[in-house]
Amino acid sequence: MSRRLAQGGLINRARPLRFVVDGQEYTGFEGDTLASAMLGAGVQRVGDSIRHGRPRGIFGARWEEPNAMVRLLAPLREPMVPATVVDLVDGLEAVTLSGRGVLAPSPRDRRDAVHAHAETLVIGAGQAGLAAAERAAGAGQRVILVDDRATPGGAIPSPDAADRVAALAGREHVTVLPRTAVIGLYDDGYAIAIERRDTGHAGAEVRRVWRIRAASIVIATGTIDRPYAFDNNDLPGIMLLGAAHEYLARAAVLVADAPVISTAHDGSYETVDALARAGARLPAVVDARDEVSSDARSVCDRHSIPLKLGTVITSAHGDRRVEAVSTSDGDRLPCDGVLLSAARAPQAALASHVGIPLAYERAVAALVPDGETDRVRVIGSAAGEGLPEAAELWCAPDAEHAYVDLSRDSTVADIDVALDAGLRSVEHIKRFTTIGTGPDQGRTSGLLAAGIVAERLGRPVGDVGVPRSRPPVIPVSFADLAGRRTGDLADPVRRTALHSRHVERGAIFEDVGQWKRPRYFPRGGEAMGEAVRRECIAARTDVAMMDASTLGIIEVTGPDAGPFLDRMYTNRLSTLGIGRVRYTMMCGLDGMVTDDGTVMCIDDEHFRVSTTTGGAAAVLDAMELWLQTEWPELRVHLTSTTDHWATIALVGPRSRDVLQTLTPDTDLSAAAFEFMRWRRAQVAGIDAVVSRVSFSGELAFEIHVPWWAAARVWDALAEHDVTPYGTETMHVLRAEKGFVIVGQDTDGTVTPIDLGYGWIVSNKKGDFIGKRSLARPDTRRPDRPQLVGLLTEPPALLDEGAALVDADGSLLGHVTSSYDSAAVGRPIALALVRGGHARMGATVTAPTDGVSCRIVDPVFYDPEGRRRDG
């Protein structure tokens, strides 16, 4: 049984800490991990195994731990973490996990992130890492030294480790980060690390993500021990030898009074000596080799420990914990623990993230990093320096119920099934057996599985390969990575200058890209359908207004602005003339519609282009691309002014009367201010640009004012009993007129001709983007999906996205827009239908709704356009 020693270790016996595991209270000390505190209190057993429900005990000392998963309840709540990496704090509460973990409730503890830069990042504060950090700091470099443990020095700290790190931390430009795990290395010296601050900084952030860019990265992550497989090798009390040494050295915990030690290399005998000096009575050391060094033999002689050479453990015995082992020489040894080290295993998974291969070296029976990159190198024992020579020891003879991956409950028998099924690649066997896919990332099972496969196939281990490690090397919670970017901070929110007015009016908002746009303005408990119907009727019969400020606006200026727009857009814009506005479309090189909007000619060298709300950034990018890469000779400047302007669309038969009241100095009559013209005017005392464009078919004005004046104009309009409306009503009004929404009625595979917008494609002007593609055979096919209107018979509201089939059940297309229309007096829909333009009057079926539809012209309302002048 494990127990705490009276002396030794790095724990502070003056600071006892109470903690609770599975409802039972225990006492540990400052400097303990939860695992060392449990072992110190005699608790070895943890939750049962995930699939087979077998009893398990603490097996490792850090992230290699496959068994001791706990859920933390206090002070920090964590759904699943190995007890071996949890620093003990007073009042800590945990439950051991059996089977599968349970997600935590939404995290309440604060997390944050730091971006850091350094000449040298050193990962690991053991002997090698400390020396590297001291060297780099001595050369005047900015150094970041991260170490996963709470205190430096590696598994078995040297006496001076703490002082050396304190000296380093005192230097300018040196950052020392204990309790910090690097989870992955990425391109160009980029590393991500997670600092666990819950113990050292109560009340502040519990986790901090470090995003580090370093000119040079030094991996000094040391080694762990590799076990081997024998029957019942999962019993509690069986543990890695190095872990036992770490518990002894750091926590003064003896993990067993009478452990059998099994090894295949000389490196284990230092630990044998340490355990024996600490009072363990070792029944035997079982060494697979026929010869050991004289030093090793003298350790056993000194402590009178029987040394069994050329021997391995074949089976462990015990009820709920190990009580004896059988050995290959036919012996049976009573014991209360088994400590394993078949070989030392360099922990160099981070190196493989940046492409440094891990090569199998037969002499040390381990994977050793082979080479370095221009930024990353591995040093110390992680690089294979000083590894003891080891015999290849993978699996005891005739083992059957021998575990390879404790975390996944995968056995030697599972590997045999995979091999019998014909699998040979270790990557395939990994997926078949799930070996190496647990939260411990195969630290103790990956190479072991490869060794067993190689042995079974009679091939060298180097030939069968090992599974490649990928980030993250430790389990990472989404909450840690998200940091503060949750809730309102998850994504930037863009609000228009009129947002507070919409909130006061009780608007229901929808997200359009990052914008918050009012969807509708319910009154007195109206449902959306009722509100939209009322808003639509106001726009068609009275007057209504919408905040259109989210539309992208780009100022295109310079002597070549006009010719430039001719090349970017489908119709001719250079000849527009001052004071005019034109609707236009943009295509990609493939001829497919990418955006639409209006262009105002401000003067000969200044055009103001509007884009869709969602397309503003992409349109600007596309314009920059062509200007900079293909047409650098054009003298054009682009400026995004979306945020500078507020735009109010004033719509309805009464819109002219209302606006005229607020614009006494300008004649707004149809004769004086024609459709598709713009002019400057004073609206409610504000200098404004007013244009006569209409996205509804009604008489309408667009009022552009500087953003700071938006509320004043909106309020002045509101005093005239103008009904505010949102995006939903805007969608209905435009659909009634057959106007498309790019991105809703188009999907990147639709040309202007497919939409029935052939009139917007100029054949007279020169080349424009997409023109040649509109002459490709595929874009001229008569059976392309084309935009049509749909009237259901009997009237019914179709689902947007609903499939449409012909009488034979062949797929013809889908519904792109569908609304109940007050103006038309029935539901209407737009659809993309194969060869739709030639199918006017035909009937199609929406099978999901079981509804017949007649294909009609997409203009449902006022096809003669008589309403636009009021």
Binding site: D187, D188, D621, D767
Partner: protein, 91 residues
Amino acid sequence: MLLIECPWCGPRDEIEFVCGGQAGVSYPPDPFALDDDEWGHYLFVRDNPAGPLAEQWCHTAGCRSWFIVERDTLTQHVLATRKLPEAGEEL
């Protein structure tokens, strides 16, 4: 996270940029002089080497300039970056 040297702004994180695909695929002087196959080739076919490739990238979250990035698609190393040629210069 690549570190990309914008020729105007200096080394910046990859997230500040967008990649615009292979560089040096020039717009044909007269697209209508190409037959459908040739035009389709210009539209859709790009080099896909396992090794160095010249790409055009835009510093969208910075100066908005397009420039050339020489990137090794095998090692993911940025080999060089440079400004676009001025009007009349060769790429």
